[in-house]
């Protein structure tokens, strides 16, 4: 084998090693930047069109769209279990989110709750990218009355499951707001996800994107 041949083999071995090493590196859903999260339920806007908009009459939500992370999913109705916890949507359908149908309809005054899986047994699911949202991103909720409620993200936070702030997430609000919930906060075998990623957003007058 000449020098060129030896170099080719050496390059191939180098690349093979890097591929093997790369496949051994772990991966996990994106998580919010803890330092960017405010500790209150502040509502933020940077232009007049993003002021909190007057609440809309209640109407059933049909789809949720989040352009910045490529979410476009139908919504199913969610209810509470006997312990008062929100039942997540069926895990088998990976592109399905759910809204808490006994609570606030998205766009009406109060906190509308939409939950979706970060993953199922086969891999990433509808809200895999939720932790990558940032203040200023928009979330569109298409409703049965043919109106689209557009929400502007105020905060993206992660809360441990054993210290979940019920009042902050589910507590009544005078404004029309949205909370998107998925799992996050680290994963431990045997314990599952240790927390929830929660996106806080408020209704604005913007046109859907």
């Amino acid at each position: 084998m000449g020098p060129a041949g030896r170099r080719f083999v050496a390059r191939a071995v180098l690349v093979l090693g890097l591929v093997i090493a790369g496949r051994g590196v772990g991966s996990a859903p994106p998580q919010p930047d803890a330092s960017a999260v405010s500790s209150d339920n502040g509502v933020y806007w940077y232009s007049d069109e993003d002021r909190p908009a007057p609440p809309l009459p209640a109407s059933k939500p049909l789809r949720v769209r989040i352009p910045s992370i490529g979410v476009d999913a139908p919504l199913t109705a969610l209810s509470l279990d006997s312990g008062g916890q929100l039942r997540p949507p069926p895990e088998s359908r990976k592109n399905l989110a759910g809204w808490f149908a006994d609570g606030t309809a998205p766009g009406s005054a109060g906190p509308a709750i939409i939950a979706g899986h970060v993953d199922n047994a086969h891999g990433p699911a509808v809200f895999y990218g939720l932790g990558a949202l940032q203040r200023g991103d928009t979330v569109d909720v298409l409703r049965a009355d043919r109106r689209t409620a557009v929400f502007l993200v105020d905060d993206v936070a992660v809360f441990p499951k054993n210290a979940f702030p019920d009042q902050r997430v589910y507590g009544p609000t005078p404004l029309a707001v949205l909370r998107l919930i998925t799992c996050g906060g680290g994963y431990r075998a045997g314990q599952g996800y240790l927390g929830n990623v929660v996106v806080f957003a408020h209704l604005v007058k913007r046109q859907p994107s």
């Binding site: 020098p3 090693g17 090493a21 008062g84 589910y170 599952g192």
Partner: protein
């Protein structure tokens, strides 16, 4: 029906003295058309009816106050107030029913669930009042608000990584890189 002990605000002794007469007067008082759901009477026959008496935040509560007892010289009631109400409520005479007054109260949107006292008084003389009380119950929303975290993932997107594999791969890459280096060095000597 709930009976709440009365709270005459002034001249308690005088008010109590007239209790028997007032009780008789109350028994003869005209029936209130509204179905009473909460009802409370003072010793002097001053009473208030709330309809309904179990409410959600933001609801409207109808109030009917009976100041018709013959005991009252000037039977005008005071405003009716409660911590559960947005503001104190001014009452208006009910046409055709002497001594009866009505009004409507708005329950605050941000009131916490629980029992709240509703109170006011009928004026007995220029310097004395006979109080009435009732309780309005603001319903809790325990059944409407979720609690706690949501189980929205099973870990199928999590790859914990494999340190041995990373080390092995880097080792192989090191061999390749080393071989390349030596090959270049030798090539450079020619």
């Amino acid at each position: 029906m709930r009976r709440i002990p009365p709270r005459p605000t002034r001249r308690r002794a005088a008010a109590l003295a007239a209790a028997t007469a007032a009780a008789t007067a109350f028994a003869l008082a005209p029936a209130v058309a509204l179905a009473p759901t909460a009802w409370a009477s003072g010793v002097n026959g001053a009473d208030i009816t709330l309809s309904p008496d179990t409410v959600d935040p933001g609801d409207t509560v109808g109030l009917i106050v009976n100041c018709s007892s013959s005991y009252f010289g000037t039977p005008n009631p005071t405003m009716v107030s409660s911590l559960a109400f947005v503001t104190a409520v001014k009452l208006h005479p009910m046409p055709g029913q002497a001594g009866f007054f009505s009004g409507a109260a708005t329950v605050s949107h941000d009131v916490k669930p629980g029992d709240y006292n509703v109170s006011g008084a009928c004026q007995v003389t220029n310097t004395s009042l006979s109080g009435f009380n009732a309780t309005v119950t603001v319903k809790g929303h325990e059944h409407e608000h979720p609690h706690g975290p949501v189980h929205t993932g099973v870990g199928g997107s999590v790859d914990p990584g494999n340190g041995t594999q990373v080390a092995f791969g880097l080792g192989i890459a090191g061999l390749g890189g080393g071989a390349l280096y030596w090959s270049r060095r030798r090539g450079g000597q020619h």
